[in-house]
């Protein structure tokens, strides 16, 4: 808990984005998480990504479940829409919202507990549906908010703070998402914002469901020796394989990437994601190969990070279901709800 406020300082030479806003305009309430929590870094990265993309705060929607990670929607974009839902139910609320108004930018914030235990079913179906949203899974291997019980992402052999060893196999959100047909799958680390900010920007611009599994250490309950989700462990074993940069349509793709290494993937909005392979034999456009590589590296204890898989060709939920792109709140009431006679007529058509 904190009892101080971060002052708002109008620095004379603060950077401004295309809307004339500063990064501080994308901040929110003072975080009440433990000092040093990885989630706070992720929050700062999300704020920075929205700032850099010059997204108007009131055109963004933040949705979350329950957990320390889920609390963080209060700590950025204070001028945006938001819904802190019940435990594990963020995906269904996001799905409904995205169906009702396709014109907004959706970001879901969840934890490993919220997504992989109680909310596993919802999580899986949002992926299958390819809801147009970015899903941030802040993964610390524990239920932080309820004081550090192992979550479903805890590795076999990882030790709790009291020394208890986890024996159940972990659920890996990345390989799970790949197997469910996800179209944008990334893994990152809260300690590497140079990698994370561009990934969030790419994920927000991707058409369809984007997942970023962010290793985000819990300083209070899972940052000790023997934990495989600590800062020290992650810094030691994490390995960036593919770097992704979002390049808007208006900007030319910089040629500074060495030839052969940079792979541009074109997006629906005319911009592109430029992939820079740090690992020569990793191809993020081949689902099967990606799956195999990740599984193999995971088995060795290596934490592969970056944009691990991308597929821009699949239709998102709105397209698959032929939903209107016009926000429902802009329809006149009789058009939106044509009345019981119209319903009866419709039902008759199915008899």
């Amino acid at each position: 808990m904190t009892s101080f406020a971060k002052p708002h300082i109008n620095l004379k030479h603060a950077k401004r984005n295309a809307l004339g806003l500063t990064r501080h305009d994308y901040e929110g309430a003072m975080s009440t998480l433990c000092a040093g929590c990885g989630h706070d870094s992720v929050t700062a990265c999300m704020a920075k990504a929205f700032f850099e993309l010059s997204i108007e705060p009131h055109r963004a929607v933040k949705i979350s479940g329950i957990g320390c990670s889920s609390k963080t929607t209060a700590y950025f974009l204070s001028e945006s829409h938001g819904n802190n839902t019940v435990h594990g139910r963020m995906p269904s609320v996001a799905t409904g919202a995205a169906a009702a108004n396709a014109g907004l930018t959706y970001i879901g914030v969840s934890g490993d507990g919220d997504s992989l235990s109680i909310g596993m079913g919802q999580f899986a179906h949002a992926i299958r549906r390819n809801v147009n949203m970015l899903y941030m899974l802040e993964n610390n291997g524990v239920y932080g908010l309820t004081k550090g019980q192992f979550s479903a992402s805890a590795d076999i052999g990882s030790k709790s703070k009291k020394g208890e060893v986890n024996l159940s196999p972990p659920i890996d959100p990345v390989t799970l998402a790949l197997s469910l047909g996800a179209t944008f799958v990334a893994r990152a680390f809260s300690g590497d914002r140079e990698q994370l900010v561009p990934l969030i920007k790419a994920g927000l611009k991707h058409n369809g469901f984007g997942l970023i599994d962010v290793i985000s250490p819990c300083v209070s309950f899972n940052d000790h020796v023997g934990s495989t989700k600590s800062y020290a462990h992650t810094y030691k074993y994490y390995h960036p394989a593919v770097h992704a940069d979002y390049v808007p349509m208006s900007e030319e793709i910089k040629t500074s990437y060495a030839a052969g290494e940079a792979v541009p993937v074109e997006l629906h909005d005319g911009g592109s994601i430029v992939l820079r392979k740090l690992d020569e034999d990793y191809d993020p456009r081949d689902r099967g190969a990606a799956y195999a590589q990740i599984a193999e590296r995971d088995a060795k204890g290596e934490i592969v990070t970056g944009l691990l898989y991308i597929d821009e060709s699949r239709e998102d939920m709105a397209a698959m279901n032929k939903l209107t792109s016009r926000p429902l709140n802009t329809f006149p009431y009789d058009e939106l709800c044509p009345g019981s006679d119209a319903l009866t007529a419709l039902q008759k058509g199915f008899r």
Binding site: A35, C37, G191, Y231
Partner: protein
């Protein structure tokens, strides 16, 4: 299979040596800029606690005259103040100094005293200005027998004869000079020294020359002689006003020059009956020498400042001055504002009854015989060492305006401190260059969760405006002090504007877990963790790039987990302590830095060579 290989740069900037006392001293911009290195934030905190006497004593140790300087100091500290990097106005440092002086209790028993036993050394000090008084202040309590020779019948130098009483009341001056005289200093008034050789023959162990720069500059233009009765040299005129020899002036007055002397001349004229006072400047406003606040105060009294007028001649009719002719100038400036060309675009006669020349001061050493042994150099100034203030005669020292030309009071004080050290070294037959090195003492200000020993939260209040006596009442008497001093409410607000730059962010690299919490909380984005590189590159890596290269960039040792480095731009840090508050491992701590700058008393016990 490790953290990105690119993070482990072996080359790059070596870790910052914060043990160097200058490192943290420079962070305290005001203290660094003060010639006498007054510990500004420390005394402001004492004022905030209502400890006015303690604040006064702390001030006095470095600047000797807090009451005087709290009113009329040139304030080099204020333009340096960090506060104006986040908003427009610096902390009213000088005004707060006056608060301490005005509200202190009787502090006489806390002042150094004449010792019971003198050390047998006799020092002659020529001129009773701030420079000589500082030397006496430092040496008398150590047992030196100090004798001050002054040509006038009052002490104080230009502070008494030139700085008008409406800015510096005589009472304040007398009080602070009195503290020093009470240390057993022998003040001989009406005693001009007219021969250096004669004084040298009197066998003093050391002589200090603090005679100032007493000669005003002339302006020899046509009509100067004929109109002489109404053409005055600024500093002589102010002196004659101070001694009440001059009690009036004409209705229309022109002041030539736009420095601080000009400001005192125009405002004094108004108090002697002038109705229309114009300050004539040769160049545009950006070239004015007067401090902005002196210009403001003069303009508030309806003094007109006329730019781009270069004096050409005095107009004298029937033996009386009736006006002055000026060339009207036009200047071509480059984009940085420097003059690259000038032309005369016309001529203008401006009528007046009196002219006061305020175009500068010079030194005058007629009383030093050129065969007295002192070497004279450029501009016919005696050769004086910049560190020891020793002349080419080993037991003769200079200080204040007499040393290197006109400066200001706080410089005279600092010269006095340094000369006192040299005189002591000389009398002890040690190297006069011997000095004790500065030191820095750090102590944590952490008291508990969210509790620090200083008021760390940022206060967005704007600078308080000094209340002034209303115009109508101001001109009744020559000695109505214009500035009233801060009210208690103003003081309470102004002290909170100080950012406590002496409470340093001290980093302990081995403790850092690279969680980035400090980076995220910093309200001015002046921290980051990054692979080491050359300094210009590092400066660009901050969210708000560190563009002010005059200010240090802190670079830590390699961090334990990734071998990256923590960097910090000292320029815009608010010393708010949020980084330290947020750090889970206390790798950042807020520590008060006391910069120890030695005066001569420390040399007595200290181990100087």
């Amino acid at each position: 299979m490790n953290a990105p290989d690119g993070w482990k740069h072996k080359e790059g900037v070596p870790p910052t040596n914060t043990a160097d006392p200058d490192y943290f001293h420079k962070v305290v911009d005001c203290q660094w800029a003060c010639p006498a290195h007054t510990p500004v934030p420390a005394y402001i905190r004492l004022i905030a606690q209502g400890r006015f006497s303690d604040a006064y004593i702390l001030n006095r140790e470095s600047n000797v005259f807090p009451g005087i300087l709290g009113r009329v100091c040139d304030r080099p500290c204020e333009p340096a103040c960090r506060r104006d990097r986040v908003e427009d106005e610096p902390v009213a440092i000088c005004r707060l100094k006056r608060v301490a002086a005005d509200h202190k209790d009787d502090i006489t028993d806390r002042l150094p005293k004449k010792p019971d036993k003198m050390n047998g050394k006799r020092i002659a000090l020529i001129g009773a200005g701030p420079a000589s008084f500082t030397v006496a202040n430092d040496l008398a309590p150590l047992g030196y027998e100090c004798t001050i020779f002054e040509r006038f019948d009052v002490p104080g130098g230009l502070m008494r004869t030139n700085i008008p009483a409406f800015r510096l009341p005589e009472k304040v001056l007398a009080e602070e000079l009195g503290y020093i005289l009470d240390m057993g200093v022998d003040l001989r008034l009406n005693t001009p020294v007219s021969s250096m050789k004669a004084l040298l023959a009197e066998g003093y162990d050391a002589i200090f020359v603090g005679t100032g720069a007493p000669k005003g500059k002339e302006l020899n233009l046509p009509g100067r002689k004929e109109g002489g009765a109404n053409i005055h040299i600024g500093i002589d005129w102010l002196e004659s006003v101070a001694f009440e020899h001059t009690k009036s002036i004409g209705k229309k007055v022109l002041i030539i020059g736009v420095g601080n002397t000009a400001m005192d001349c125009c405002r004094t004229s108004l108090r002697l009956g002038a109705r229309d006072v114009k300050v004539m400047a040769r160049k545009p406003r950006s070239f004015f020498k007067a401090s902005p606040w002196e210009l403001e105060d003069a303009e508030a009294e309806n003094v007109e400042i006329i730019v781009n007028h270069s004096p050409k001649s005095f107009v004298v009719e029937k033996g009386t001055l009736v006006g002055m002719v000026f060339d009207k100038m036009e200047y071509q400036l480059d984009e940085k504002g420097a003059i690259i060309g000038q032309s005369i675009i016309g001529e203008e006669m401006i009528p007046c009854d009196d002219v006061i020349l305020a175009i500068g001061q010079e030194n005058a050493f007629e009383w030093i015989e050129r065969d007295a042994g002192l070497e004279f150099g450029k501009w016919d100034m005696p050769v004086v060492d910049e560190m020891t203030f020793q002349s080419t005669v080993p037991n003769v020292f200079f200080g204040g305006d007499a040393a290197f030309g006109p400066k200001n009071i706080i410089w005279a004080v600092e010269h006095g401190h340094q000369a006192a050290i040299s005189i002591h070294q000389f009398c002890k037959e040690r190297m006069v260059t011997g000095r004790l090195s500065n030191e820095v003492r750090l102590s944590s200000t952490k008291m508990g969760m969210f509790e620090w020993r200083y008021s760390n939260s940022f206060d967005g209040a704007e600078r308080r405006v000094m209340p002034h006596v209303e115009l109508a009442k101001r001109f009744k008497d020559l000695d109505v002090e214009v500035e009233l001093g801060f009210t208690p409410e103003q003081t309470a607000t102004e002290v909170q504007r100080c950012l406590n730059c002496d409470v340093q962010t001290v980093f302990d690299a081995p403790l850092c877990t690279e969680c980035d919490a400090c980076i995220d909380i910093c309200p001015v984005d002046c921290l980051t963790i990054t692979p080491n590189a050359d300094e210009p590159t590092l400066r660009q890596r901050l969210e708000t790039p560190a563009v002010n290269t005059e200010q240090a960039l802190f670079v830590s040792e390699a961090l334990p987990l990734t071998e990256r480095v923590m960097i910090k731009d000292e320029n815009i840090c608010l010393h708010c302590g949020l980084c330290a508050e947020r750090c889970p491992t206390a790798a950042w701590d807020m520590q008060e830095s006391e910069i120890i700058i030695h005066h001569v008393e420390d040399m007595v016990t200290g181990a100087a060579k």
